[in-house]
């Protein structure tokens, strides 16, 4: 049985000046998996996910989410349909408490009673181990904790698709094991698209990997297939294909 795609792109392209940041990308993301997006610096990964969630508008091509085209929708409408996004460069409400940060994420995405809000906020903070700091001001925390808050906000939105842009950047090695376990628990309810440089994380938790290079898909497959792919090795290590 063919997997149901949560997200599909067809011929998605975006240029900046003369540079084709993303070029003619056809991408399919089945529901329920952890999908890693990797590639050398400047490969177009962040631009690509920006096109998916609407932060950046496409020059051409289409994006489908849950079988509906969302190419022309503004950011907030895409988020409302179930896309969550966490920023590569930490972007939180630094003068507000952790509780308020997560509360803003929860409120938009649910119409429940206030009591349920508190439970949802606590759950999200607890899952990243920040519940005991709920009333601390977000900007006073360490960078690693801010990254975790960012992820908690993404989770609290309960998205169908959670896009994480380099989530382990700035996390200590000891925190990464916990992070992997966290992602595995999230994927039970959200599909995850992960941009990640840490190959240990990618190889351990990704079900599938897509490699971008110069704005195009270079390879696609399981971690083992990607590991063995010569084109990928060439792109990363700068070998000549000749």
């Amino acid at each position: 049985m063919a997997a149901i795609n949560l997200l599909t792109t067809r011929g998605l392209s975006r240029s900046f000046g003369g540079i084709k940041a993303v070029h003619n990308v056809n991408f399919e993301l089945p529901a329920g998996e952890i999908h890693a997006l990797i590639g050398p610096n400047g490969a177009g990964k962040t631009t690509f996910v920006g096109l998916l969630c609407g932060r950046i508008s496409a020059d051409s091509g289409q994006v489908f989410f849950s079988n509906e085209e969302i190419t022309a929708l503004p950011v907030h409408k895409r988020i409302a349909r179930g896309i969550g996004y966490t920023f590569q460069i930490t972007s939180i409400f630094s003068k507000l408490s952790l509780y308020e940060n997560v509360s803003l994420a929860v409120h938009r995405s649910s119409g429940d009673k206030r009591r349920d809000f508190d439970i949802q906020i606590s759950e999200a903070l607890d899952s990243v181990g920040l519940l005991d700091r709920a009333y601390q001001i977000a900007g006073d925390m360490s960078y690693g904790h801010q990254r975790l808050l960012e992820i908690a906000m993404g989770m609290a939105q309960k998205p169908k698709l959670l896009i994480l842009d380099e989530p382990t950047q700035g996390l200590a090695q000891s925190e990464i094991a916990g992070f992997n376990a966290l992602l595995k628990s999230i994927v039970e309810r959200s599909t995850i698209l992960l941009i990640e440089h840490n190959m240990d994380v990618v190889m351990e938790i990704a079900d599938k990997i897509t490699v971008l290079d110069f704005g195009e898909i270079l390879a696609h497959g399981t971690p083992e297939e990607i590991h063995a792919n010569e084109d990928v090795q060439a792109a990363y290590l700068g070998k000549n294909n000749a």
């Binding site: 950011v75 907030h76 988020i79 507000l96 409120h107």
Partner: protein
């Protein structure tokens, strides 16, 4: 006591104090406080945009003056009752705010400041241009007979004080309710990090437009009320000075606090009042005080109190 109960209790205490003051203050100060309360309503309106949503407008004189002229011109030329005229002023402010908001919000940052400033200048020039109706610089007086609502004579000092207090109390209640609501929290989110708010699924343009509408309309209420209570409508209130005042009052009192605009207005009003007793260079004294406050109490009076003593202050 929850933070919410405490803040309501504190604001009600302020209103009770103002109510009681009426019975003990000499006539001169009674008039001043009534004036300050109306100007504080203006500043509270300004604060919704600047303090809570992070939108710095340099054109709020337009909304204040629209409320004032909307009220004054309809009394003067349409001959309608002051209560209806008051509503006309508010509706006029709402319409002008909506137009300016939709256009000005296409810009942000410095451009937003300039665009709002230009709109306000156009408003001022329009008042002068239509001098035949507005009597230009000179303005016009609203006669005592035209200031009676439900047989309450608003020209009477005591009535005027209570009318100002009523409007001020309403404004406190509305803004307090607003900023402690989920809507208010989203405004703060827009102020703190608009892109993040957008990425949480909020239509930030709508929230900003709503903030502009509420802010401009409250400023219009203040303008209409001020004109009606003090019986004068003049182009002076449409000048750039009246766009800068609310910014100063809010900065002094504490941007993003409910009571800040009142204390900022009170402080500045009496600072100028006392300084002008001492010297003709009273603005110099006011200026030095402002510089000192900006250097040593950056969050404004209530902002500092929130930071040091009462973290729950809305």
């Amino acid at each position: 006591m929850t933070a919410n109960t405490k803040s309501w209790a504190l604001h009600i205490a302020l209103l009770v104090t103002l109510f009681t003051l009426q019975f003990v203050l000499p006539a001169y100060h009674q008039g001043n406080i009534a004036r300050i309360m109306m100007l504080a309503v203006f500043a509270m309106g300004y604060n919704i945009m600047f303090g809570y949503t992070g939108l710095l407008s340099l054109g709020h004189a337009l909304f204040f003056a629209t409320g004032m002229y909307g009220m004054g011109l309809s009394i003067q030329h349409l001959g309608i009752s002051p209560a209806t005229a008051f509503v006309c002023g508010i509706v006029a402010a709402l319409l002008v705010t909506a137009t300016v908001g939709v256009l000005a919000l296409r810009t942000s940052g410095v451009a937003f400041m300039i665009v709002t400033l230009m709109f306000a200048q156009s408003g001022y020039l329009a008042v002068l241009f239509f001098g035949e109706y507005t009597r230009g610089d000179e303005g016009f007086v609203i006669k005592q007979a035209q200031r009676v609502i439900a047989s309450v004579d608003l020209a009477d000092a005591t009535n005027r004080y209570f009318a100002a207090l009523l409007l001020f109390a309403l404004c406190i209640a509305v803004t307090l309710k607003l900023v402690t609501s989920q809507f208010g929290h989203v405004l703060v989110a827009v102020r703190e990090n608009e892109e993040r708010a957008q990425m949480l699924g909020y239509d930030t343009f709508k929230y900003k437009l709503a903030a502009v509408l509420i802010s401009g309309t409250i400023s219009g209420v203040a303008g209409a009320g001020y004109g009606l209570l003090f019986g004068y409508v003049g182009a002076n209130f449409a000048t750039v000075q009246y766009s800068i005042y609310p910014l100063l009052w809010v900065l002094l009192g504490g941007a993003g606090t409910i009571m800040g605009p009142f204390f900022g207005t009170l402080f500045m009003f009496y600072l100028i009042d006392l300084a002008s007793d001492l010297t003709s260079a009273y603005m110099l004294i006011a200026g030095v005080a402002l510089v000192l406050l900006t250097l040593f109490a950056r969050n404004g009076l209530m902002g500092e109190i929130r930071k040091r003593v009462l973290p729950w202050l809305p």
